[in-house]
């Protein structure tokens, strides 16, 4: 990651401006705006939070308290592939803990950490709404990886990429 200050790209700015007219108040576009940013650069740094605030006519703190309240937003960089493993009840019953431990060993990092090359990070997440196909794993904001099995970690890593 370079030290250059990250800014909103023109594409993301246009996507945010297209979202605003759906709501009576521009501020309502904030959650979607943060998703757009994160889809492009992986996290939402303070510099970009300020730009979004200006775009939506709210204070930077209004943006920051939303970024820090919601688990899906990251203020700091995560791995290029942020591997999110559900550890709630249905997934726990199907061996989610073993999957988390297996990923930690394989990647040499703990939950909440990033590999030195920035390629991967591991996160424990709460129920993803896929209990019938536990264990459920999500990479970044891609469609779910369902039916992950602790005894098939190779398969899982191939799908993660």
């Amino acid at each position: 990651m370079s030290d250059a200050v990250l800014t909103l790209s023109e594409n993301v700015k246009q996507a945010i401006l297209a979202e605003v007219p759906k709501y009576p108040e521009p501020r309502s576009a904030l959650l979607m705006a943060l998703h757009f940013v994160q889809a492009e650069i992986g996290h939402v740094p303070i510099s970009v939070q300020r730009e979004i605030a200006a775009l939506l006519g709210i204070r930077p703190i209004d943006v920051r308290e939303v970024v820090t309240f919601y688990p899906m937003y990251h203020e700091h960089p995560v791995g290029n592939r942020n591997i999110q493993v559900c550890v709630n009840i249905a997934c726990a019953l199907a061996g989610a803990r073993k999957i988390v431990r297996g990923l930690e060993q394989r990647l040499g990092i703990r939950v909440g950490e990033r590999t030195p090359d920035g390629a991967y990070s591991i996160e424990e997440v709460q129920c993803l709404g896929s209990c019938g196909t536990a264990v459920c794993v999500q990479v970044n904001n891609q469609p779910f990886i369902e039916n992950a099995r602790p005894d098939r970690l190779d398969d899982l890593m191939r799908t993660v990429g």
Binding site: R27, L31, M32, V66, N88, S130, G132, F144
Partner: protein, 427 residues
């Protein structure tokens, strides 16, 4: 009565496109409602059907609609459709969103007519990427076909549907937490009164209904309240989507009438407990609801029957645990969830969820005392009925539910100074 599905397509059928949905009679109910029923008549029909909300609380949908001000008031009115679906064990709305999205759009059009709404905002949990893309596709198709937008379905009033995404916070499934979030804020629930029907989205009158609730409406309009009431029980009418997960052979979502015996759902539809193991515990309606023991498996899955059994129907998300599962570990997983998801506004909830988790961990490790078990019960008591929303109550019910139903197993952790089921799943 023969089982008839009206929410989900048959296996293998693809109803996602407007063309396919129309071939099943889709949007006929919307045309009927908008062109031949007044808003009052529509609300009366839904009231008469006995339809109750499918989001967990089970409130009468028709009654909820009747709390809205008469159309033509000074402020616009809105539908906030709850697709946050974050209650662990619950994965049913996703089936509608991914497999039958036009059913929801049609339900929203009819609901919009009933309450005179300007627009519906469908709030989906941020992780539901496929559901979001599928629903947005359906909305765009409907708009292009004139079913949404100005002059929608050939009436003068404009009505549109917008789909928005949350970002991973369970509390945004709480109706006022969702409204705050949809306004671009932290999802901290509001004090009531005022209720959303008076002061909802952007301070305007708003009806909050779950995705499945709204998706029930087209069938009621098409077939009538009397038909709907023939399905289910007198106080829990219609089909519902039961999600079943955990230690069963065929986990999944099953559309069945209210009142279906829990045993039938587990043994017939879900193929029984895995490996021929013995059934031990069942969470009947998402982890917020107190757990049942195997002896209670003959209970029927409807609001009244489960209340009598000492729990609640909730979302109908059934989690099955077999004899290998440690009940303290199950309680830990759920307590950790609530500790993570408390929004932090109310002291009882913020502190209580943390303490429940800590105490359960201590009991599981074998370091706990009998006094700790009483403390869990006591903290649960402090957390109930004291807070802005029901997250605190749910956290308390879940923990004390496991403790009360499986007290001897908790005590065995204390007296044996270790988990008596070391081969159990890990929390």
């Amino acid at each position: 009565m023969a089982l008839e599905r009206y929410l989900l397509p048959p296996d293998g059928a693809d109803w996602r496109s407007l063309t396919a949905y129309r071939q099943t009679g889709g949007y006929e109910a919307a045309q009927k409602a908008l062109h031949s029923l007044t808003s009052e008549a529509l609300i009366e029909e839904v009231k008469a059907s006995g339809l109750r909300g499918r989001g967990g609380a089970g409130f009468s949908t028709g009654q909820k609609w009747s709390f809205m001000p008469k159309p033509g008031g000074p402020k616009p009115t809105y539908i906030a459709c709850n697709g946050d679906e974050s209650e662990p064990g619950t994965f049913k709305d996703r089936q509608i969103l991914e497999r039958n999205p036009h059913l929801l759009v049609e339900g929203l059009i009819i609901t919009g007519h009933a309450i005179g709404a300007r627009a519906a905002y469908v709030y989906l949990r941020g992780e539901y990427v496929t559901a979001f893309n599928t629903l947005v596709g359906a909305v765009e198709e409907a708009r292009a076909a004139g079913l949404l937008g100005p002059g929608h379905c050939g009436v003068e009033r404009a009505f549109d549907v917008h789909v928005m995404r949350g970002a991973g916070a369970y509390i945004c499934g709480e109706e006022t937490g969702m409204i705050e979030s949809a306004e671009g804020k932290k999802g901290q629930p509001r004090k009531r009164p005022p209720f959303p029907a008076v002061y909802g989205l952007w301070g305007c009158p708003t009806t909050v209904n779950n995705v499945e609730t709204i998706s029930q409406v087209p069938a009621i309009v098409r077939r009538g309240a009397n038909w709907f009431k023939t399905i289910g029980t007198p106080t829990s009418t219609g089909n519902t989507l039961y999600g079943i997960s955990g230690h069963v052979n065929r986990p999944g979502v099953y559309e069945l009438p209210f009142g279906t015996p829990l045993r039938e759902i587990i043994e017939v539809h879900a193929g029984g407990v895995r490996n021929g193991n013995r059934l031990k515990a069942i969470i009947p309606g998402g982890v917020s609801m107190p757990v049942l023991s195997a002896e209670q498996v003959d209970v029927r899955m409807d609001h009244d029957s489960l209340k009598t059994a000492g729990t609640l129907l909730g979302t109908g998300g059934i989690v099955v645990m077999d004899e290998t599962a440690c009940m303290v570990r199950a309680a830990i997983v759920i307590a950790r969830f609530f500790r993570h998801e408390t929004c932090g506004q109310c002291t009882q909830c913020r502190e209580g969820t943390a303490w429940l988790y800590k105490l359960l961990r201590r009991v599981e490790s074998g370091q706990g005392t009998m006094a700790d078990l009483d403390t869990i019960d006591q903290i649960g008591g402090y957390m109930e009925g004291q807070t802005i929303c029901a997250l605190s109550d749910a956290a308390a019910w879940a923990a004390t539910g496991f403790l009360r139903r499986f007290r001897s197993e908790f005590e065995a952790h204390v007296t044996g100074a270790k988990c008596p089921l070391p081969e159990s799943f890990e929390p």
